[in-house]
Amino acid sequence: MIHVSTEKLIRRFKNKEAVLFLIFILLFALMSLISPGRFLTWRNLQSMAYQLPEFGIFAIAMMVVIVSGGINLSITFTAALASIVGGLVLSTLSAAGTPSAIVIIAGIATFLVVALACGALNGLVVASIGVTPMLATLGTMTLFEGVCLNITKGGAISGFPDAFLWFGGGTVLGVPFPLIVFILVVIATHYIMERSAFGLKAYMTGCNPTVTAYSGVNVKKILYGIYLFSGLLCALAGILMSSRYNSAKESYGSSYLMQGISAAVLGGTDIAGGYGKVAGTVIAVMILQVISTGLNIFGVNRYITNVIMGGILILVLALNLIGRGEKAIA
């Protein structure tokens, strides 16, 4: 979005993102108060700091697609497929005794290439063929899952070189590496979506693709770019995840699909497209992470946590609906 004056900026920030941040602080405080001994510990905060990045990156991968007027149901299986193929490369090269640095580079490159290929397929079906993103990514999601299963036969890929574990568990100057990646992703996405020409075109496409096309914008190219970018983010999330689990399986991260949508919508992204800020999504991710971790600590059954997360999605959608009604009147 284009801010033309700083007063407007502050005023707008006073609205959605600030409210969300407030909610986050409140929840954080709540959790800390209820169980300081377990929530407010260094170990727990660290654990959240390691888990939040992959969730956050998925949420952003979802957000950018929703902003462009679509939805990407294949984010988790894109990451899974990238992880499995990348994992295969990692374990095979590692077993063959290749020097560690080359293994890592080859592995990471594989993650990226596979995920970008997935993104390209999505782009093809949505932009070139013209299938609605919902159905297109429903199809690609199933396809990717199938390929995953075909490779792993239901098992998990393991045998990663030790150096690989650093991605998901290492620190740089005391800060967990995943968190650094996440911060970089957030900054990059902010600039790409909210400060670049590409981003402006993406938002306009999400709002009204006809007008945008008539204005001389190559809408197909923009959509391809969005799905490729989304795929790239899935690769990053996949790297962090498989490093953390030290293995790759097609079922890893499957819950992030729904939570990703929740986070995006909670963060102010309009499910119809055209609106959404990275900051909002990030804070929403933080909120959902706090809730999920909190529930976990309090011993709430993880299944109930799923229920609550599902309930939050419905709730958030309902609130968004009411909010959209107000926006039209305002």
Binding site: M1, K201, Y214, V217
Partner: protein, 531 residues
């Protein structure tokens, strides 16, 4: 500038029409189905209907004639209960006064409107499309297909046409689908059928079939109010003709009381109250269209546009003007033809190509195709010129953007002067200015404009006219499609008239008259009807 209402009296012709009306209005008789009077409809800023009267007899085919914007659609909406007229309206159906016309009431009284989109279901059978309405109304628990099919067959028989009731509707041609829509109207026990532009998608033969059906309906005592701009067809089928102009009712005439000239005078007879700008003779050819053809859209279109001139393209609605414009812009690609820009042949396959060549397009439907309403003025203006606003990395330079937007707000006097204001909150005139700004920012050579002052109040219209003239003076060539003859004559240097997909006439903007243009737009109506 122009604060006066559009319906300026034309003097003699008006009083002639009034006299005719007085002769016609014998008061209600037993043969009258519908009589309305004192019908007015005011929308914010515009009086769409001004004291309309109308009388339709039983079993009559009654034509409603008027230019685009004369008020025909508004009148139909009032008759079908969708909109309410201003206070003081009188509506009588079969002698009984109707206090409030609601959609349900209108249907119950036997008024059925057949819209251009039919409201049918392509995926179900003809029989179902025709006859299931009764079941929906009654809430039948278990459907009796035999009844539905025989009911459908009966309706089709009443129309005198033969369509296989078991085919899927989507399989039928548009013409046949329309007949199905009419058949459905019969199941509603229609007494007055209102048909809005029913022949716009039909071939000559299909029109003949439709007319045969209409005559059958007439025989059985059903009245038809036929709204169309295709005057030759109207003359072939209608018993009487009512003329609307700029929201006013000019009279009802029998066949022998109207000839081409009188008809044209009635339709366009008005003083041009816009400022008429001096026309220029430009001869530096900048764009040449040669032999553009597109099946179902236009044929043999060739013309030239010179630098700094405004070329007006006019004609009746449906003549293919917008389609030609869209073809030039690359969003409705022609089947064959050549395009030359400054002497060199170019191919435009998409809007992007067009923009790259310096061609801009302002669509007719500003709200759906011209602006992204839910975004700000700034976003809308910037979207065309992002290339000029980015730094090396591709990031938008906010300073440059701010300057650009503010420059155009100033130049075009957009109000309110707030760059972040959502486009949806602007008035029609200001919205149009934002659209203009977004294209001018590109510094185009050629501006394609479709109905530039559509839905804009009178004062703002004059401003847009001045703006367009100024742009032309500065060297931009403008191709302007407009249905408003006064507007064409006010600002166009040259005028091209299109009719039924072809160019039927070309005029010098300085010397053309409304009558001449309209003549070319409808070309020899009576002779057509007779043949």
């Amino acid at each position: 500038m122009c604060g006066e209402p559009k319906w300026v009296d034309y003097g003699d012709e008006e009083s002639l029409a009034v006299a005719v009306v007085r002769r016609e209005r014998k008061g209600m008789n037993s043969n009258t189905f519908l009589q309305i009077s004192k019908i007015s409809k005011t929308f914010p800023g515009v009086k769409a209907l001004n004291n309309i009267s109308l009388e339709v007899e039983r079993g009559e085919i009654h034509a409603l004639i008027g230019e685009n914007g004369a008020g025909k659609s508004t009148l139909i909406k009032i008759l079908s209960g969708v909109n309410q007229p201003d206070a003081g309206a009188e509506i009588y159906i079969e002698g009984k006064k109707i206090e409030v016309m609601t959609p349900l009431e209108s249907l119950r009284r036997g008024i059925v409107v057949i819209y251009q989109d039919f409201s049918l279901f392509p995926n179900t059978s003809v029989a179902e499309n025709i006859a299931i309405t009764t079941d929906i109304e009654n809430g039948t628990p278990i459907l009796n297909w035999r009844r539905i099919r025989s009911s459908a067959r009966a309706a089709l028989a009443r129309l005198g046409i033969d369509i296989n009731i078991d085919t899927a509707l989507g399989e039928l041609s548009v013409a046949k689908q329309q007949l199905v829509a009419i058949a459905r109207a019969l199941t509603y026990d229609a007494k007055l059928l209102i048909m809005d532009e029913p022949t716009s998608a039909l071939s000559k033969g299909e029109v003949e079939l439709l007319f045969k059906v209409m005559r059958n309906l007439k025989e059985s005592g059903i009245s038809i109010l036929f709204v169309s701009h295709k005057l030759d067809e109207l003359f072939a089928i209608s018993d009487r003709f009512s003329v609307l102009r700029d929201g006013k009712y000019l009279g009802t005439f029998g066949e022998d009381e109207l000839d081409d000239d009188r008809l044209i005078s009635l339709m366009v007879g008005r003083k041009i109250e816009y400022t008429v700008y001096p026309k220029r003779k430009c001869d530096d050819k900048v764009l040449e269209v040669r032999n553009f053809n597109k099946i179902g859209n236009f044929k043999d279109i060739s013309f030239v546009v010179n630098r700094g001139e405004i070329l007006g393209i006019t004609g009746l609605v449906g003549a293919g003007r917008t389609e030609v414009l869209k073809a030039i812009y690359g969003i409705n690609r022609q089947d064959s033809g050549h395009l030359f820009l400054e002497g060199k042949e170019i191919t435009i396959g998409s809007a992007q190509d067009a923009v790259r060549h310096g061609i801009a397009y302002m669509p007719e439907n500003r709200l759906r195709e011209g602006l992204v309403l839910r975004k700000s003025m700034a976003d809308n203006i910037a979207i065309t010129v992002t290339d000029r606003l980015v730094d090396r990395v591709g990031l938008l330079d906010r300073g440059k953007l701010r300057d650009l937007v503010e420059e155009w707000i100033r130049k075009l006097n957009i109000k309110p002067a707030i760059a972040d204001m959502l486009a949806t909150k602007l008035s029609g005139g200001n919205q149009q200015r934002v659209v203009i700004a977004k294209w001018l920012a590109l510094n185009p050579k050629i501006l394609l404009v479709d109905e530039p002052t559509n839905g804009i109040d009178v004062g703002a219209k004059a401003d847009i006219h001045k703006l367009l003239r100024d742009l032309a003076e500065s060297g931009i060539s403008i191709i302007m499609v407009s249905s408003e003859l006064p507007e064409i004559l006010a600002i166009a240097d040259r005028v091209i008239v299109m009719r039924r997909g072809k160019i039927s006439g070309e005029f010098d903007g300085a010397t053309a008259t409304q009558e001449e243009i309209m003549n070319k737009a409808i070309l020899g109506v009576r002779q057509q009807a007779a043949s």
